[in-house]
Amino acid sequence: MNSNQSRITALIADPLTIAIAASVALLLIGEILSPGFAQGTQIVRLLTVAAILGIVAAGQNIVILGGREGIDLSVGSLISLGAVLAGNMMNGQNSGIPLAVIVAGGIPFLIGLINGIGITFVRIPPLVMTLGMTAVIQGGLVVYSQGVPSGAAAPLLSGFINQPLVFGIPGILFVWVAIAAIMLFVLRRTSFGFAIYAIGSNERAATLVGLPVQLIRTLIYGFSGLFAGLAGVCVIGYTGTSFISVGDQYVLPSVIAVVIGGTSLAGGAGGYLGTMAGAVALTILQSVLITLNLDVWARQVIFGLTLLALMLLYGRQKKLRV
């Protein structure tokens, strides 16, 4: 009886439960404010938007799990880079899709590795390294695009992301589920996944047991770049065209989705299931705020206040007095 009670308490306090409950509550609020908000097609639409955020947040998640103040603020510019590269590789042709995915995933992966090398070997704090890299990537994008938007999504890619594939569900959601399966498998069943938790919770101990800490951390940032680049491919598929700051809007939400999902910003604790719920909850919140027909400023203030409220629930740091 007692253990049952504590199990229920633990379930209620679990960030995953809170994020799912918040999503359902927000859907209900949306339905009350504007009937039809929680319709099947509308929910699929919301999940499509959440999938793009969720893919970016997968990279952000392992970076934060890896500890040592891990954060990747370059994901926004890497998404833009992925979108612009993919657009130019495809140029509206279906035959260009494989090359687009390889280039738009590969180059951000390499840039992510450079982030990782700067952070692990030169020991530049992640915040500074990834923000500095953002400026470099943005500069590179200006050079590459010569300031003119170019490239277009192939019809097949746009259809994959915007049109139902089977059972009224677009292809991107299957991709998201596949990525989730890989993330969950890697984090829970492979030595690489355990190593991420190990270096995030106690780097010294991880070094002492012989883990290649620096290599693992470098790879983590590489994968974050890869996920951001792939999200860029989805973004251009979703919108059809790209501009050089298209990814900026994902930086903060990617961090927030991870935090809402219960991954500790100190590293070493958390997982991807919570992050997915966090991405869905965030997307629905933004959608409700738009449905409310609020002014830009009010939307911003409510969004910021929601983040602070979430921090109050589970973003707090340890007390110094024990």
């Binding site: 943005q138 400023w297 910021g304 206040l305």
Partner: protein, 314 residues
């Protein structure tokens, strides 16, 4: 003591050296650089970043970070011009606007400090979030850029007082402030808080007061920066200051302060901010094609940051 040890103990000396080299290069590329009017106009361009970087230093020294400084600058700017307009644009109204702007800056700092030190929120996400809120409030106060300030405001800012340009006086004020504060017990305690938080707590330091104090200094200097920007642009703009968070952190790191906290001083950040400004200047006058300027600037700043971190890490 070898040069290397000196550089490790006083990393800002390297920054001063870099500054001198940049000044020489700049003078070669742009001979009018030493002209008093050009120097004054350069200084008034660099001044907002210098002021924000001074405030940011104290927050970083205590082991925290303030990503909301850019939004505070925008909010103070629009509050100041709105108050001046509401009070009728007289001389008294200008002072009322300045006071209101300063209070808003302090209040923003207090709010950040309250959440982070009082409620133990994580600094990066919290100041990201308060930054969104402050920026939203700025749009609420003044939805569109406009509302010119009285001529007296910007004329005073661009003129001279006691034979010295006002912008130079502001810089001297900032430098004296940093030098005085670095000799106060407050500074030593901040460094203790940033270097070893548990140790500082166990030795009885008032952590809460110190960290909130640092955030309020950051808010106050962000408001000074906003008031200077208002003198420069002579009107209100709710979207001001977007890049100030990153550049101020870069300036602090270049000035020899450790980003992890516990080591450094704000005088170095002034030099760091000047170096950042000069890098932009040199690139502009080097005659690079326009599209390449952002890229080259980003690469140089990243390299400088890597160098700065390499020297200050311990």
């Amino acid at each position: 003591m070898t040069m290397f040890h000196l550089a490790r103990r006083q990393p800002w000396l390297i920054t001063v050296l870099v500054f001198v080299i940049l000044a020489i290069v700049n003078t070669i590329l742009q001979p009018s650089f030493v002209d008093p009017t050009v120097m004054r106009s350069n200084l008034s361009t660099f001044l907002p970043l210098i002021l924000v970087a001074i405030g940011q230093t104290y927050v970083i020294l205590a082991g925290d970070i303030d990503l909301s400084v850019g939004s505070i600058v925008a909010l103070v700017n629009v509050v100041t011009v709105t108050v001046i307009t509401l009070l009728g644009g007289t001389l008294g109204a200008v002072f009322g606007g300045l006071a209101a702007g300063f209070c808003v800056g302090l209040l923003c700092g207090l709010i950040n400090g309250f959440f982070i030190s009082g409620l133990r929120f994580q600094p990066i996400v919290t100041t990201f979030a308060t930054g969104i809120i402050f920026a939203g409030l700025a749009i609420w106060v003044l939805p569109q850029a406009g509302l010119p300030v009285p001529d007296a405001y910007w004329q005073t800012y661009t003129e001279s007082l006691l034979g010295l340009p006002v912008v130079l006086l502001v810089l001297i004020f900032g430098a004296i402030f940093t030098l005085v504060v670095s000799r106060l017990p407050f500074h030593t305690r901040l460094i203790a808080v940033g270097g070893n938080r548990t140790g500082a707590f166990q030795s009885g330091l008032q952590l809460g007061g110190l960290r909130i104090g640092a955030y309020m200094i950051s808010g106050a200097f962000a408001s000074f920066a906003a008031l200077c920007l208002t003198g420069e642009t002579a009107s209100g703009d709710p979207l001001l200051g977007a890049s100030l968070a990153l550049s101020s952190i870069s300036a602090v790191v270049l000035g020899g302060t450790a980003l992890a906290g516990g080591f450094g001083n704000a005088t170095g950040s002034i030099v760091g901010a000047l170096v950042l400004g000069m890098i932009g200047n040199v690139i502009f006058f080097a005659g690079l094609p326009f599209e390449y300027q952002t890229l080259v600037q980003g690469l140089i700043v990243l390299a400088a940051l890597a160098g700065g971190v390499f020297v200050t890490r311990r």
